[in-house]
């Protein structure tokens, strides 16, 4: 069992044979059951993550289709393509889908795929929870999209401001569906966040102290902490909303001492960190891409880490800049203006460090890097308009106009989607074992970049021209036609660019050249294993002594002595990653799926009657009993003490 690592070069045939034996044993221990049931039960972080990424991009396609319909509707004044009722459902679904069903899940999915590989371990800390999280996420998405298809889509905006979203002004089940969507997606997001925190803190390979962690892992760690402290606010708020709507509580009823602003405080206490929850993983992508393709480690690693942490903290202190127009006390507004502007400093540090890395490295201009460079340009522009919005006086003018729409699409598409697309191209060889087309990659970047700017730059001017958000039409002759026409035309170009991108992905899957372990010459541990990685990730867990393990020329020992016949991983100390104990992970199981089904039944029933909560809890009790009931694993019995 304790053979030294022989990955590519194995001069000693005896050791090569031993490694082959170990791999065969690991394969048996870590592989999932085959077939449909295996698909439901998977406890492999990679297959769950890929599923989640594919699902998230599916919802992205749906959300984009809605965006296309909105651009068609707004392509000319007083258009009658969709009426106001449908339009309101469309923009609500667009926002909710993109935020809750695409951006957050896809970032966490990348974290779940990459973090165990990057820190050199075999799986995430709670593999069954991981599977549960995926099914809950899928159920939430399917529920709300089914409702939308049935013309019961939520229609009060992704922010669902009360009293508009309350019982008196949103009758029917539309907003209830939105509130339950929140329940679903927040459970999924929180599960993934805890997963990532514990995996990162307890499962890093020996030697990977916190100050040697890849920046992407740092980014995911900060993100996961932000999720843990931000999402409860929206869960509480949406639960209050659901109770106001269903069991007559008065949280938001001004006539009975409730308060409409309470909703806004709770919502934005989540809503603003949410933006950073999407953006921080993207900075992790960019750091990885910039470092790899500059052929040097990222400049200013400690500053980058501190900037991430500072962003994480500051992100919680500026929610009120979404509420400047509500008329809060002046002093408070000045504080929140200052805090909102201050967050530009950590963002600035990151941008400057990337520029310094590019400037001092030897740039290899490959397609994934192009997306990262596009990100820098767009994000700086979006950041600058963000600083404008942080200023109370200017915010009073452009708040809730297309200027804001332009701003947040620059920071969310420019700041998160571009790095994400770059990341997809970059890690596609690892995920699939095949190289994407460089040429298609470059074309898709160019078309997407141009299309994006054509679509969203004019929106700045539309906002200054007085066009508010969330209107289904506008009058002719008020100076809004040109900008809207250009934006709609740009949307077509943007759609073409995205289609090219996904065509590239499809081409890669069918025709891509074999990638090899490390086609980009990257530095982090996921490139030290095969592409795609085996179920157990590494035959022997690596150890590291620096921050760019694959670029180090020093020889490092590998970990031996972990059992290969069961799913055993090495748990290390949280700070300096010294080996602490061996831990057995749970294997594949149907119960997480059944628990997700039980929860779904409960949550959906709760749309109609409060008894749904009880029903869901009872069903959940049954499935959780099945989940945790021991099934006589002899190697854990007291009698059989391990050495």
């Amino acid at each position: 069992m304790s053979a030294p690592a022989r990955r590519r070069l194995a001069p000693d045939p005896a050791e090569a044979a031993r490694e082959a034996l170990d791999r065969a044993a690991l394969e048996r221990a870590w592989s999932n059951p085959a077939g449909f049931v295996g698909w439901l039960t998977s406890a492999n972080h990679k297959s769950v993550a890929i599923r989640m990424i594919v699902t998230a991009f599916g919802f992205f396609a749906l959300g984009s289709a809605l965006a296309a319909v909105m651009r068609l509707q707004l392509a000319r004044p007083e258009n009658h393509l969709v009426g106001p009722d449908l339009y309101n459902q469309i923009f609500t679904m667009h926002g909710s889908t993109m935020m809750f069903l695409f951006a957050v899940p896809v970032m966490e999915a990348f974290g779940i795929y990459l973090v165990p590989l990057m820190i050199g371990t075999r799986n995430v800390a709670f593999p069954r929870m991981n599977n549960f999280g995926y099914w809950i996420y899928l159920a939430g998405g399917l529920m709300v999209w089914t409702a939308f298809v049935l013309n019961i889509g939520p229609d009060a905006g992704w922010f669902a401001y009360v009293p508009l979203s309350g019982p008196a002004y949103s009758p029917g089940k539309r907003v209830d569906l939105w509130a339950q969507l929140i329940t679903f997606t927040e459970i999924a997001a929180l599960v993934a966040a805890v997963e990532i925190v514990v995996t990162t803190l307890k499962m890093r390979c020996p030697g990977m102290s916190l100050n040697r962690m890849p920046l992407f892992v740092w980014a995911m760690l900060v993100t996961a902490f932000m999720v843990i402290f931000a999402m409860p606010a929206i869960m509480v708020a949406s639960t209050m909303l659901a109770m106001d709507r269903m069991v007559d509580t008065h949280f938001f009823n001004p006539a009975e001492g409730g308060d409409a602003l309470l909703w806004q405080h709770l919502f934005w206490f989540f809503g603003h960190p949410e933006v950073y929850i999407i953006f921080i993983p993207a900075t992790g992508f960019v750091s990885t891409l910039v470092s790899t393709f500059s052929r040097r480690r990222i400049f200013g690693y400690p500053a980058m880490v501190l900037a991430l942490i500072a962003t994480g903290f500051l992100g919680f202190s500026l929610w009120v800049h979404h509420m400047f127009a509500t008329g809060l006390p002046l002093l408070g507004e000045s504080f929140f203006t200052a805090a909102s502007m201050m967050i530009a400093i950590p963002s600035g540090i990151q941008v400057f460090c990337w520029l310094a890395t590019l400037r001092s490295g030897r740039v290899v201009l490959r397609a994934p890097l192009l997306f990262a460079l596009g990100f820098i340009a767009l994000f700086v522009l979006g950041g600058l308009t963000g600083i404008m919005l942080a200023a109370l006086p200017l915010d009073l003018q452009v708040h809730d106009t297309y200027f804001v729409v332009a701003h947040f699409h620059y920071v969310l598409i420019g700041g998160a989607l571009f790095p994400l697309l770059g990341a997809v191209l970059f890690w596609l060889p690892k995920l699939t074992g095949r190289m994407p087309s460089e040429r298609l990659g470059r074309w898709s970047f160019a078309v997407t970049f141009i299309g994006f700017n054509l679509t969203f730059f004019p929106m700045h001017l539309l906002g200054l021209g007085g066009m508010p958000r969330r209107v289904y039409t506008y009058g002719p002759g008020v100076g809004l036609t040109t900008g809207n026409v250009v934006a709609s035309a740009g949307a077509a170009v943007l759609a073409l660019g995205l289609l090219l991108f996904f065509a590239n992905v499809a081409w890669t899957l069918r025709r891509g050249a074999p990638a090899g372990d490390d086609p980009w010459g990257a530095e982090t541990l996921e490139w030290a294993t095969t592409s795609p990685p085996p179920a157990y990730n590494f035959a022997y867990l690596p150890t590291v002594d620096g921050s760019a393990p694959l670029w180090s020329t020093r020889e490092r020992p590998v970990v031996t002595g972990l059992r290969t016949d069961v799913r055993e991983v090495l748990i290390t100390d949280g700070i300096d990653a010294t080996p602490d104990h061996r831990h057995r992970l749970d294997g594949a199981s149907i119960w997480p799926f059944l628990t997700a089904v039980a929860a779904t039944i409960g949550i959906v029933t709760a749309l109609f009657t409060p008894w749904g909560v009880t029903i869901g809890a009872l069903l959940g009790l049954i499935t959780l009993t099945g989940w945790f009931w021991p099934r006589g694993a002899p190697e854990h019995a007291i009698a059989e003490e391990q050495p």
Partner: protein, 208 residues
């Protein structure tokens, strides 16, 4: 390229001598429960903030026509919960020593305390608050605070009961003791959360 290059057998890091069962912050599950606690604590804190925020909208607190919440059942529950820390601390300790019978005994006592707490909570819902959840915003927020915390008491008691069943029916595994000690940890948090909840719901109206 160290991780991909051949290494001498002597330089391999052999971890086979490391333990497989550990307790406390060394165990990943402990951290997982800590994450859960952070989430639930934040959620409860948010409702607490909402309570204080809604206070501003009222002249009197509780609002006129609503009596002050009665202290009896809640204070009794506070005592029960604080006392329940003792058996659960025993579970914690005996679990680390893998003392099967004593853990079973401690859990049983813990469950009895949990049931007592639930009964006392039911009494509070039945009348101690002096209003319904749909009376006014005050009613909504105090019912929610109590309800959220009650959900935790119920969850944790059920968890203890399940674990007790596992320990009684078997086959008992060593990791069940890790679970037992983590249940104790979770129970401490629930007792800890009852203190600010109690203060907000029952004492704060007397001061605010």
């Amino acid at each position: 390229m160290s991780a991909t290059s051949p290494v001498a057998r002597a330089r391999a890091l052999d971890v086979s001598a490391l333990p497989t069962i550990v307790y406390g912050p060394r165990a990943p599950l402990w951290w997982g429960v800590l994450g859960l606690v952070a989430i639930e604590g934040t959620a409860l804190a948010m409702v607490g903030v909402a309570y204080l925020y809604l206070r501003q909208n009222f002249v009197a607190w509780p609002p006129e026509g609503t009596p002050l919440p009665r202290l009896g059942a809640a204070t009794a529950e506070l005592i029960v919960l604080l006392a329940s820390v003792l058996p659960m601390a025993a579970v914690d300790r005996f679990a680390r020593a893998e003392r099967h019978r004593l853990v079973v005994l401690g859990l049983t006592i813990g469950i009895v305390f949990g049931l007592a707490s639930m009964a006392l909570r039911a009494l509070q819902f039945a009348g101690a608050l002096g209003c319904r959840w749909d009376s006014h915003a005050y009613g909504s927020v105090v019912w929610t605070l109590l309800g959220m915390h009650a959900a935790h008491v119920i969850t944790s008691t059920i968890e203890n009961a399940l674990l007790l069943a596992v320990l009684l029916i078997g086959p008992v595994e060593r990791k069940d003791f890790v679970d037992a000690h983590i249940n104790a940890f979770y129970w401490y948090v629930i007792v800890g959360l009852w203190v600010p909840t109690y203060v907000l719901v029952y004492l704060a109206p007397r001061w605010l």
